[in-house]
Amino acid sequence: MKPLLYVRAESVGEAAAAHAGRPEARYLGGGTNLVDLMKLGVERPEVLIDISRLPLDQVEELPDGALRIGATVRNSDLAGHPLVRERYPVLSQALLSGASGQLRNVATTAGNLLQRTRCAYFQDVGKPCNKRVPGSGCGALTGVNRDHAVLGHSEHCVATHPSDLAVALAALDAVVELAGPGGGRTVELTEFHRLPQDSPDQDTVIRPGELITGVLLPPLPGGTVSRYRKARDRASFAFALASVAATVQVRGGVVRHIGVAFGGLAHRPWRARRTEAALLGSAPTPEAVARAVDAELAAAVPLRDNAYKVSLARDLACEVLGSLTART
């Protein structure tokens, strides 16, 4: 039996100290993904540093109108927070579209961002996976890949990031706050998750020992509306086949602010900058929206089983942007 050291951290400093010098340490939040991966043998930590009791469980409004979400705020609490519901419906909707009630009650904000792909090849230690064992190959590339990436993948990895929350945060220009051995730093959410390239074992830009302490949500321009929509295999408790998060402000018939991100299509939440650029300053007619969405999805390279994702994402985005621009 592999012995496991369990440390309950009471402060960020304590957590960092427990992690120092232990590459096989893992921070434990809600454990809804990490513990599963331990059972599967995918994760084999030597130390579990329980950070779920750190004083990072608050959502606070900052003087500039931003919201600061603590790393250990539970998904259910975040989804139900009055300020989130009022100002960032896209975030609340994304959270509530994910997992199940029981899981959302336990899962944390930071843990959600750091969850691993649900690629079946990654989760099975008997199969090749460059993310799990660099250099072992990618089983999904020529295997069963209906659920896999159509954007930004490489020959080394075609996995998708499973989070709904992260997709909404990507559209909201959220910023990840990190504490680490070298001090604190912030990283834009859209830069936090990586594309696989030739090192898919690195999901994010987080450094060894670094700890997410919170997520900053900048205020949205007044009159901005937002929405999250997800297509999935069953009505609840299923990961996105494709999803869209969008924020839009239209003034005088012209798009003044826009943030669009796709989920289920790539190794990270896919911020649709081309779509945004095409619409910003333009009238969001259905034709313009469709052209703008197509501009983003033109880069898609489907695999054997997932060509449907391109048209699915297109229709989702057109519907969401159409409904939002009609409302604002």
Binding site: M1, R232, D233, A235
Partner: protein, 695 residues
Amino acid sequence: MGATPSAPGAPVERREGRAKVTGAAKYATEYAPPGRVYGWPVPATVARGTVVSLDTSAALALPGVLAVLTSDSAPRLADAGDPTLAVLQDSRVPHHGWPVALAVAETLEAAREAAGAVRVRYATEPHDVTLTVDHPRAYQPDEVNGGHPGERRQGDPDGAFADAAVRVDVSYAVPPLHNHPMEPHGATALWRDDELTVFDSSQGGDTVRATLAKLFALPEERVSVVCEHVGGGFGSKGTPRPHVVLAALAARHTGRPVQLALLRRELTELVGHRAPTLHRVRLGARPDGVLTSLIHEVTTHTSRIREFVEQAAVPARVMYASGSSRTSHRAVALDVPTPSWMRAPGEAPGMYALESAVDELACALGMDPIELRVANEPPAEPDSGRPFSSRHLVECLREGAARFGWDGRDPRPGVRRSGPWLTGTGVAAATYPVLVSPSRATVTAHPDGLYVVRLNATDIGTGARTVLAQIAAQALGVRVDSVRTEIGVTGLPRAPLAGGSAGTASWGWAVHEACRDLARQLAERSGPLPPGGMTASADTAGTADAESPYARHAFGAHFAEAAVDTDTGEVRVRRLLGVYAAGRILNARTARSQFIGGMVMGLGMALTEGGGVDPASGAFIGSDLAGYHVPGHADVPAIEAHWIDEEDPHLNPMGSKGIGEIGIVGTAAAIGNAVHHATGVRFRELPLTPDRVHV
């Protein structure tokens, strides 16, 4: 318990309900005999080949590890006629996931660690796990599951089809499906000298006992099997599975009681699955809808080590009159785990295809699909010519139509839009054969007024204890709460397994006979009972299994309303309604639960369930419940089960037909037909997930 209604069919509550929800009910791996240790299998990671070397040294060096059984060290097994149970007997790997070793340790964690530390080298051979309709190794089996002939022919179906005024010629595909009972398969095994006791999760303890006795070359009386509570099986626990053999081997080898629970993801490879089926259905009809030709051809896979052929073309031999017919099966032996029974084997996939094709024919004819079915109602079982003991399919269709609000339905597809949603309705028929096996039972009247019924029935979650007490109370003319039911352990009077929707009929028949005998004896005597009470017994061998001159089947009708989101291709079922003619219903509460459970499983088959095979490794992909989607609560809509009172004197003393499986039969077709009515598009491959439906 409060009120104890004793009328036939009374909705008596499950007797073990409280024990289950409070955790008091014991399942197979919740027994802790002193000295218990844990077994953890090492599954093969290749689909075809041979183990050339197996290094257990690292595993054995771990603390707490007692042994690693391999095909070199494991005790030898005799042939029990089921190659899927010949585990750790030779170095062949017949499919991915086949156990090539078994670690045994003092703790579960140590056993897992040890299993992971075993180093296995294989000589692999090219494998083939892909079923195609034109597979070069496809063959026609003489016999398919259930003992049915592989092919049946009446008249000249090809000629009649060519000459038919209206024709449909369509193909459907049903993927591999997994049983996934809530309780994974597990067992606790212990030896005392040459006596073996196992606590097993099985649908039939006597079947397990007979098989283990053969495998370990023991007289049956030296094998005891306890199956007190079983958390579902859906066929996957119908016969003994490798887990119980592994536990018994390990206990023999180590001299310690061994507990072994399969992982959820191991179930797909070790306990059977519903084989994928590729269907071609041709229907030829006159302009008035009367069928002149019915051809149902099925191609499916089996494994290399044991033939199991899903009898998906068999229901077409029962359903409709047609001037001519051919129903046939072809199988391909692939390097896949051995398929087996899954709820309504044959009927579930077969009726999906047939009932979808009937709907397509109705559309081609411009005829209401209910009227088309009525127009082809047969006077006797089409294939055998035998009269039906009872058949009330038309009544089910009519009753369902009235309850569902079918009349006045606009048949045009693709015209009911509300926002992004297109809605439609669909109907399909259901059928399931009446199966019954001999059973024994005893009943004892005690002086204190208690009656105790004993037989080795198994409660797989359906409420067997409760309904058997009701049957006994009826036959004895006493209150149901004065009857105790003792089941679930060998040594009790021998009883068949809970499978084929035959448990209640088989056990109940023997219970009824014993109780009637006891009632006669009690009526004839006067004075107090002796201290030990008075016992009567019954054995229905020769009676229950006597050949019936009748074709005996339950029938039903399923109605579905489906909504399709045109933005995403997501299909959501809004209403499901089933009406059944299944003889006399013996307990309205537990029967409704069974019907609805079957319908939910049919909903899963239609919309969410499907196991993919990874061509490179030969393994099922998505083997846990995050990857294999069974319906969640949000998927299950307003769902209703109704039944019509059916009197059938040709069944058993209770007048009952089996009800455990018919709920899954035709449900997927009703939903698929509703999706066509909603969208105007026929999707002929299950499940109806957005990757298929988004267009």
